[in-house]
Symmetry: C2
Subunit: 162 residues, 2 copies
DNA sequence: TAGGTAATTGTTATATTATTACATCAGAAA
DNA sequence: TTTCTGATGTAATAATATAACAATTACCTA
């Protein structure tokens, strides 16, 4: 079986339907395992986020959710986003105030994010070397890590070779 | 001469006046060298930011600036912040929507930020190993770096030993 | 199946963060 | 003096996010 992390969304010919169905399938499975509910709204928001590999703004999601949920309000979106983040199904991109689907929700969730300024796509990388250097650095500083946001902005390989 | 980076703000007995005068001195010097103006407002905002090693919110700065600049408005603060960031004199902490003085403005500006959840102080570290691992990772991904935000949240050594 | 409870969603209002556009002013250069 | 540039004043508004409370739904168990 293909795993989420084996797909590279930057390649223009990637099968995005496969991305989406893998992501939603994994999400459902994880929620089942954890005894939490992937309700209709949460499922819809996750699906909207997965429409592309770009980070999406909350109010853009709201606009896109409204046709499906006539009563949707900001709180509707933010609650769904909170849930999806808690469950590790999406990333909050701090430097963009935006949200992107996580392709590694079943594994190590904290990843390095490579954010392309041109195509706006966000790539996740486990970046083991970076993470271990980070651990070492924190250890030296006597700092106990709770969470990390590692966000790199630049030009992705696909855009720079075009 | 003591350099900014030799001081550790986490040690409760550090001489903060020294931090401030070093920071403001370096800032003035850099602005002179670059032929840009550290105007009264910009100097005041930088001074307010340096009142502590905590990240400060824009509207909190505004409140604290108003006694000094009766006409100050949001744009006043955001313009000063934009300038200070451009000149590398402060960091924007993306994950807090807040701002903190930079102790390495005369050197490599992009640093790892260690943000304590208890005392709220922000420590900067050049973290050479992390940065080189990051470069290597980007290279492998064919990604051209423009800028980085590396923000680690947790408990600082000072707080965890208290 | 009825009743209790916790989780989810609906709804309104508002807080917080940030930008845009245009007017004015101050200082350096022609 | 005129002109240009950068900085600031000012008003309005856009964009992002949360709080508080009511209503509904899902689920457990007696």
């Amino acid at each position: 079986m293909t795993s989420l992390t084996e797909l590279n969304q930057y390649s223009s010919e990637h099968n995005h339907n496969q991305c989406v169905s893998l992501a939603l399938g994994t999400a459902q499975q994880l929620c089942n395992q954890r005894g939490v509910l992937l309700t209709t709204i949460r499922h819809q928001v996750l699906t909207l986020i997965w429409e592309s590999h770009k980070a999406v703004k909350a109010y853009e999601l709201l606009d896109r959710l409204r046709p499906l949920q006539a009563t949707a309000k900001p709180a509707t979106i933010y609650r769904a986003l909170d849930f999806l983040i808690e469950q590790g199904l999406i990333h909050r991109v701090e430097s963009l105030n935006a949200f992107v689907g996580c392709r590694c929700s079943d594994q190590q969730h904290e990843q390095l994010l490579l954010i392309c300024k041109l195509c706006e796509q966000v790539d996740e990388r486990p970046a083991a070397e970076v993470m271990s250097a980070l651990l070492e650095e924190s250890k030296q500083a006597g700092f106990m890590i709770h969470s990390k946001a590692i966000e790199i902005h630049g030009i992705c390989s696909d855009c720079s070779t075009k």
